[in-house]
């Protein structure tokens, strides 16, 4: 066993056992809070404050109670989140890939410089534009609507443009050149050749966008004013800060309802997720 084993810390059986023990310990520590969240959510009210880790009689009672409670309208919040997600996802995919194609394939003077500016905008912290964009949306009458949360997505995002541009540059130019000789337009090349070949990169962009929308707290906190517009993240925050007397098994049930869809998505798309973070990190 040469090759990859050389990178290993140790080759002995003892070393292997130590590595294994450490791995089990680390994995357990990281998984523990989420496992406990689910355990508490399955406990009956009388057992919540008991020290036992596993519920003695698991039940879904806390879930049905929290869904029916007026403090946490899960179905409405989920609907709101999905509406914002759908409207912004189409926009982010279309606009980012069009701009990325421009930066990758359409030669124009000053392109490198403009792309540099695009990359530099990733460094600008959100708080810097928080106040003026609020003022802008207030003038437009958009406060208390979903618009501030999805319209900007239609104007490309620097990180996604960067990711897609890197991917487009790896696709051989010959494909487009021969298509153009056959009379295909630029748009045709983009739409019929590049996009279908770029499904892996588009999947990364879509996945990260879904996570960002699902997790966003500060956007909905600033722009949404009525409880019946709340997203899941804002609704959960509202539940835990305003309804102090909600029992912990119900709070954990609410948290599980918000977290479990994301975990499901993660396990379905683990490869896409890991590849996305890795390319962003190594090529940046």
């Amino acid at each position: 066993m040469s090759g990859k084993s050389a990178a290993n810390l140790t080759g002995t059986a003892f070393g292997r056992a130590v590595v294994y023990a450490l791995l089990v310990l680390v994995a357990a520590l990281f998984a523990l809070p989420l496992v406990w969240m689910i355990c508490v959510s399955l406990k009956p009210p009388t057992e919540v404050l008991q020290p036992n880790f596993w519920p003695s009689q698991p039940s879904l009672a806390a879930y049905s109670e929290i869904i029916r409670s007026q403090h946490f309208d899960f179905l409405l919040y989920a609907r709101n989140t999905l509406i914002i997600l759908a409207l912004s996802l189409v926009g982010v995919l279309l606009s980012s890939s069009i701009a990325a194609y421009g930066f990758a394939r359409v030669p124009f003077p000053g392109r490198g410089l403009v792309f540099g500016v695009c990359l530099a905008t990733m460094m600008i912290p959100f708080p810097v534009i928080m106040v003026p964009t609020y003022v802008l949306f207030k003038h437009l009458g958009w406060i208390g609507t979903f618009r501030p949360l999805w319209v900007p997505a239609w104007f490309g995002a620097a990180f996604n443009i960067f990711l897609l541009r890197q991917f487009f540059m790896q696709i051989p130019r010959e494909l487009e050149e021969s298509a153009m000789l056959d009379g295909c337009t630029r748009w045709g090349c983009f739409w019929r050749i590049m996009l279908p070949l770029s499904k892996p990169a588009l999947a990364v962009v879509a996945l990260f966008h879904c996570l960002a929308v699902w997790n966003d707290l500060i956007g909905p906190l600033i722009y949404l004013t009525h409880q019946d517009q709340f997203t899941l993240a804002l609704g959960l925050q509202f539940l835990q800060s305003k309804a102090g007397d909600t029992p912990w098994n119900q709070l954990m049930a609410a948290a599980s309802l918000v977290v479990l869809p994301v975990l499901l998505l993660f396990f379905l798309a683990q490869r896409t997720f890991v590849r996305g973070i890795a390319t962003a990190g190594l090529k940046g």
Partner: protein, 323 residues
């Protein structure tokens, strides 16, 4: 001839502008113009409901003598100084561990990555309960090992002459979120739980280190520790620099986690009141838009300065292969 070339150039610019339009339109509408407005507002008294009134550098002068501003600046710096070094060391070690070729490794990796996709509100809620002084798992575990901690403390007392107060408190299970120093420690702990995305980047970085380097080191009889110091760390150093810069930008903007854990309040004696939280409160709670904008510009300058500093310092320390 000239006209034709000019025509081609104009066409190139036009098609370039057209293709990149989504980006530059958004850049102008949602970034450049708002930033310009923000700079202007930062020199104004602007209570949102009335028109902004130009007041010169008064907001900046007021910030210089604002004790709460000093407090949030210090808190944010302390948090960054704790979370970034701890997080970097832990993430590199975790990546090396998760890079070992053992059966079931994909499951171990998944366990470490999963917390990074959990919505921060969910993270906050789960950790509120984890850190609950009476019923939380953290204090349950501490009470379980408290004899060991007490023994450690006694040994320390024998060496230095007095018992460490923080160790006594730790053994008793502290009220994490209601005591100043402990609340900060709790936040750092929760931030370590979300280390997974940095680990993923380090893992990818480890795979880029050429296998021959390890083989050569083994032939020279280098131990595992020496291989880590002389092959792994230099190979990983560009990735470390990148991650530290990303972490720097992120920690100076920390908002959601303390906001959820502290229920939107500044925490005990404002000990977990961070820069962006105070900015947010100034803007949307006290409606002092001018003051908040001045804070935002100072924040941008701090982040740019620190990033530049880390980048310059890092360039000396980083080893680039082939360079």
């Amino acid at each position: 001839m000239n006209r034709a070339r000019w025509g081609n150039g104009a066409r190139a610019v036009a098609s370039g502008l057209l293709w990149t339009a989504p980006w530059w339109l958004g850049f102008l509408l949602f970034l450049a113009v708002p930033m310009g407005m923000s700079l202007y507002i930062s020199f104004c008294d602007y209570p949102l409901l009335q028109r902004p009134v130009y007041i010169g550098a008064a907001n900046y002068r007021a910030l210089v003598v604002d004790p709460v501003f000093h407090k949030v600046l210090l808190n944010t710096a302390v948090y960054a100084a704790l979370a970034i070094p701890l997080g970097t060391v832990a993430a590199v070690l975790l990546a090396v561990l998760l890079n070992q070729r053992v059966r079931g490794q994909s499951w171990f990796r998944a366990c470490v990555f999963v917390p990074t996709v959990v919505p921060l509100v969910g993270t906050g809620l789960v950790w509120l309960w984890m850190l609950n002084p009476e019923y939380g798992l953290i204090n349950q575990a501490l009470r379980w090992i408290s004899p060991t901690l007490d023994g450690l403390n006694a040994a320390l007392a024998a060496l230095t002459g007095h018992r460490a107060q923080w160790l006594t408190r730790l053994a008793a299970g502290p009220e994490w979120l209601s005591l100043p120093g402990w609340a900060m420690a709790a936040l750092v702990l929760v931030s370590l739980w979300g280390l997974g995305s940095a680990v993923v980047i380090y893992l990818a970085g480890l795979q880029e280190i050429p296998e021959e380097l390890y083989e050569a080191a083994m032939l020279d009889g280098a131990s595992a520790t020496r291989r880590f110091w002389h092959v792994t760390l230099p190979g990983l150093s560009p990735v470390i620099l990148f991650n530290v810069i990303i972490a720097l930008i992120g920690t100076w903007q920390i908002f959601a986690l303390p906001y959820v854990l502290m229920r939107g309040e500044p925490g005990p004696q404002r000990s977990t009141y961070f820069y962006t939280m105070y900015l947010f409160d100034n803007a949307f709670r006290y409606l002092k838009m001018g003051y908040a904008s001045a804070m935002a510009w100072i924040q941008l300058l701090i982040i740019l300065a620190l990033t530049g500093l880390v980048f310059l310092a890092g360039r000396r320390a980083v080893y680039y292969r082939g360079a």
